[in-house]
Amino acid sequence: MTAAAARGGAPPAVQSLARERLHAALRSATLLIGLAILAFWSLCALFGARLAPQDPYADNLLATLAAPSAAHWFGTDQLGRDIFSRVIMGARDILIVAPLATLLGTVAGTALGLCVGYFKGALDDVVSRIIEALQALPLVIVALLALAAVGTSNATVVLVIGFVFTPLIARTIRAAVLVESDMDYVAAARLRGDGPLAIMFIEILPNVLPIAAVEMTVRLGYAIFFVASLSFIGFGIQPPSADWGIAIAENYSLIGSYWWTVLFDAAATASLVIGVNLVTDGLQSVFDP
């Protein structure tokens, strides 16, 4: 009966897990709407210059603060620039800075969380207390101080937000690594002489990556909001960018009479954050129904 052992097979249900997830993803309205919003803003960021009907940087002192009309769908600002074109162009910087900052925070946080969770002991005690101390401070204040010290540019904003996010992500990853390092496969790796680096990055890391990915999408929403806030107070993206946060800062004193100068930029920021959050929720429900 040689066939007996050879007949071993996986239940068909398991093999199609990836396909089942794809089907679930295609049925998830939350995910699809979120992706549509993200795709829209990504297109604006990539091809904004060609999509914008007018030059977003061109002043027109004859048409300042014009209300929305057929010529200017979203009206014009104090310098007579077309707000519709500026909203489209405004997606570019924030969609570069926020994802890069999130990526940096996720990579650094995952590495830190892996080390702390794997070695435990004194290292864990020290790092965890530092993380808690950092978390006790308002993040915006920490970021402001850091930016004031190193100067403001897109690169420093990425670094600072990445730095601020690192402990948050490290905490989540640490908790997951604590669970993983109690698993027997880690003991098995030690018994074949694998060193700590090999165990952390080859054995454990792939199993905590899904958690890191979810954490990253959650953080991306925060990062967008964070960048917009920093830009609003002048420490984020710098003019002459058409960034939404800057536009809101420049015009919010006019909100009583010229609402269109603020509303569309604010709505754009909100829609991007909502889009990211919808994708996060959608992904979570697909992977963890």
Binding site: A5, A6, R7, G8, P11, D184, Y185, A187, L191
Partner: protein, 695 residues
Amino acid sequence: MNSGGAVPRHAEAQDTAALCIEHLDVLYRVGRRERRVLTDLNLTIRRGESYGLVGESGCGKSTAAFAAIRYLARNGVVSAGRILVDGRDLMALSPPELRRLRSESVSMVYQDPGRALNPTLRIGRQMAEVFEVAEGLRGGAALERAAEMLARVQIPSPQRILRNYPHELSGGMQQRVVIAMALSTNPALLILDEPTTGLDATVEAEVLDLISRLHAEFSNSILFISHSLPVVARMCDRVGVLYAGELVEEGPAASVFGDPRHPYTVGLMRCVPAYGRRKNQGRLESIPGFLPTPGSITGRCVFVDRCGNATERCRGEAPPLIDLGGRVTRCFYPERAQELPLQRESAAAALSEPPAAAPPSSPQPSSSTHLSSSPQPLLRARNLCKTYHVAGKALQAVHAVTLELWPGETLGLVGESGSGKSSLAKLLLGLSTPDAGSQLELAGEPLPPRAGERTRAQLKALQIVFQNPGSALNRSQTVRRLIGRSLRLVGLVGRAREVRLRELAASVRLTLRHLDEKPRQLSGGLQQRVAIARAFAGGPRVVVCDEPTSALDVSVQSAILNLLVDLQAELEVSYIFISHDLNVVHYLSDRIAVLYLGRLVEIGPSEAVFSGPHHPYTAALLSANPAAGAGAAGRIRLTGELPSALKLPTGCVFHTRCPRKLGSICELEEPPLHAAGDGHGIRCHIPAAELAAPV
């Protein structure tokens, strides 16, 4: 005390069964697909009867139980059939009626009592609630009834237990509380879903005794669900064998187990190592193939793919339940069931025929052979101690264990949870550091205590097969990678590594196709084969098997045990085999060590440990074995709780539960390990000769 429960029910109700399931089909909706888990299930439990439902995991036992109280998971649907509980049609009941039925007529006891009890409420509060809801009692009166119920399940001081939280009780105690709650309303039907699976052998024996006695006292009907044939055989009047969602055989317990008429029942019974059977008396039987996905087989017999008796007729039409007079079977050839051909394993096994050298029945085959062939033990532990520090207190997990392992032998480690079996294994492997003064030697050379300090050769020599392959195999790696990474230890790369990998896979009967799959795509048995291949990758000299089959079904268990025996015969590896299943340990082991609270209480050749004289604890363990078939009078039951390892008893640690305690000497002096014959040692103040005599 309200003795209403003991009075037989009204005579006119005798004709209505406690549970009657007719032509029941249950589906689960997964995504858009429907999976049928129960097909045309018919069963009737008469009043006062105890009915056992047996089968392996995934065959629909629990689904049947949940359907019987209409409490299926959200995606479960009863698509056909009727369920009558106490004569009432369950599907026709309105939600309030259903709630009333559940509170009055049916009770259920689950496998894990820790999850059945609310951790934030005291036992008293949880139990009183039953009486408040069912009988409208209030406050003190309800608590009083709760205390009465606890007394009836033989809980020593009910008033104290009522004030406890669930986590303050042991598993056995928790399960008694759950059983007491279930019986509080004196239900017509009591459903027990694997009630003792999570418990230790001696505790299981006690709980089973309790259930039997309560059954006699309350005369409820019982639906007893279990994967364990010996347990069901002991507990039930009638049994049903479930396979892939169909009842394949049903009848009185004695006739189903004594004279099975379905090949699946025959196969299941052959898989379990019989009481007292040894590895040199031949291989264990296994059932080839895998349980089919429920509902995937239509128009033919569900068991046809794994059946040695199958004919064209079995492939072309589904057999109906055939009445054999008082019992039924779903097989065209019931008279041939017991002629089921013996299962020969695959070609790979043929490469290394079972040890031809093993003499059929020489009394002590191995314990004498290895002594002559090898002058020194392979692994030696002296005075091995491990103390953990928990909140400033010392917890002795392992205390002064001295043992030797000879080349090619299997040392069985037996003991209940908390006895230090796994802690001892970890110490030997270097996964935890022993206390100062402990000594380890490998082939005469001192062995560093930590895995990180050991040389490659030493690491290679000592490997482990863990209990739970789900945790032992990295879920993100393919089988090829899982085994391949261990081959690096022997310095194999490239082509040579691939060749060796294929050899290894073949030696554990994995096919090439499996190499590219990930653990979750494999069944539990296949996963454990991967874990075994990994342990053997470096050519180990000692493999610790930590309950390697306890997470597996019986039909798979025997195949894994056979594999371990084959590999040992072929490679002359030594095993330290940890298990709570005495029949399995007995089957596999040349010598057996019994642990209690981290101390070695008995060690010796397998036959001597089983035949006696026994340490009183070993005697209780052996007597708890449901397959041992000891009459109720001959059973030794331990009383009292396992002491906390944080507050060990003085003197002999077993004196608090020992049925043969001598007196103050046991409380004051730790007994020495007395010699009781050839290599047999017993740690007891009672001399071996006296221990051999019955109590």
